[in-house]
């Protein structure tokens, strides 16, 4: 049995779902944050795997962009957490319900 793209895809799917479970079940914003990063990494694996499969470089480039955006996003997200903590509020998703109704 050779190593095929599908192997990578399965692994990436697993990582993605693990990350998703974290996002869905944890209350700590920071953890959710990390889980999102994990999901991004999972997608990255898929992209690179396909890039490898099709013998093109585009998938890698895409992931590079994803990385850049993820970095920006994490910077902003963490800043929000800091701002929250400065207001004396917990980084708890259940406390933030201003979108309700």
């Amino acid at each position: 049995m050779d190593l095929t793209t599908n192997h990578f895809l399965f692994v990436s799917a697993a990582l993605f779902v693990i990350g998703m479970m974290g996002v869905l079940t944890r209350r700590n914003i920071l953890i959710i944050f990390m889980c999102v990063e994990m999901m991004v990494a999972a997608v990255g694996i898929t992209l690179v795997a396909f890039s490898h499969e099709t013998a093109t470089i585009n998938g890698q480039v895409f992931f590079l962009f994803a990385l850049a955006v993820a970095a920006a996003e994490s910077a902003v997200g963490l800043a929000i957490v800091v701002a929250l903590s400065r207001q004396g509020r917990a980084p708890d998703v259940e406390e933030m319900q201003t979108l309700k109704n």
Binding site: N6, T25, L30, V48, E53, F65, V76, A79, P91, D92
Partner: protein, 236 residues
């Protein structure tokens, strides 16, 4: 069974285990450390796929930069205010597990039933070599074919950084027990004026700011239309 497969199994197992750790650890610091582990393994998988540059980048950006940032953030948070472990509603947890399982199954089915392209394997080798390595290949593509996207990405990054700085800045220093009201705003001004000392006309205020004590509070009147705090929400 080739060595490749063995390495793959080891890396991916470690990656998934660390991932599970991220989700499962109660302490955010532990989660962060697990994330580092996971990402290192992801980087390893990248290298296996012939994307050395991305692997390196993964480690530099995530483990080197982002995670340090996360850890700093964790340190900034008041540990007594850490939330509960899981979300409250049991239905949410249950549904999440079900959705996750189904999604995994669906992706699995999709991967199995996909009509795979013929070439599976590191075929980029030759091309990459020709270009003088993976880094060079990416660089070449990114600065030619994807030049515009590249510029946009850098803009996004810049904006993100600026945004982070703005959000992270401490609030403006506001005197406690002070109500700021703008003359540009209509709401609030009449009742505040009725309660406080009579001004000739609010529009005739000579200075940029006019401060007057009203009961226990201080009313600051300014011509800045955006400066306004509601009486009920005096800054602490």
């Amino acid at each position: 069974m080739s060595w490749e497969l063995v390495f793959f199994a080891v890396f991916s197992a470690a990656m998934l285990l660390c991932g599970l750790g991220v989700v499962a650890f109660e302490n955010p610091v532990h989660s962060a450390v697990a994330l580092v582990g996971s990402f290192i393994n992801v980087a390893a998988l990248f290298v296996m796929l012939g994307a050395e540059f991305l692997g390196v980048l993964q480690i530099i950006v995530y483990t080197g930069a982002v995670l340090v940032l996360v850890l700093f953030t964790i340190m900034l948070i008041d540990p007594t205010k850490l939330p509960e472990f899981y979300v409250g509603a049991p239905l949410q947890r249950f549904a999440s597990v079900v959705v996750g399982a189904i999604l995994l199954a669906e992706i699995g089915v999709a991967i199995i039933t996909r009509t795979a392209l013929e070439q599976i394997g590191p075929h980029t080798e030759a091309m990459v070599q020709q270009m003088g390595g993976n880094v060079q290949a990416i660089g070449q593509v990114m600065l030619s074919e994807y030049a515009l996207a590249f510029e946009i990405a850098s803009l996004v990054l810049t904006v993100g950084v600026v945004g982070a700085v703005v959000i992270g800045l401490p609030n403006r220093m506001v005197e406690p027990n002070t109500v700021t009201m703008s003359l540009g705003h209509t709401r609030g001004s009449s009742d505040m004026l009725a309660a406080g000392p009579k001004f000739e006309s609010p529009m005739n205020i000579p200075a940029e700011r006019y401060t007057a004590p009203v009961g226990e509070r201080t009313v600051v009147m300014t011509k800045d239309p955006d400066a306004y705090t509601h009486p009920g929400e005096t800054s602490k």
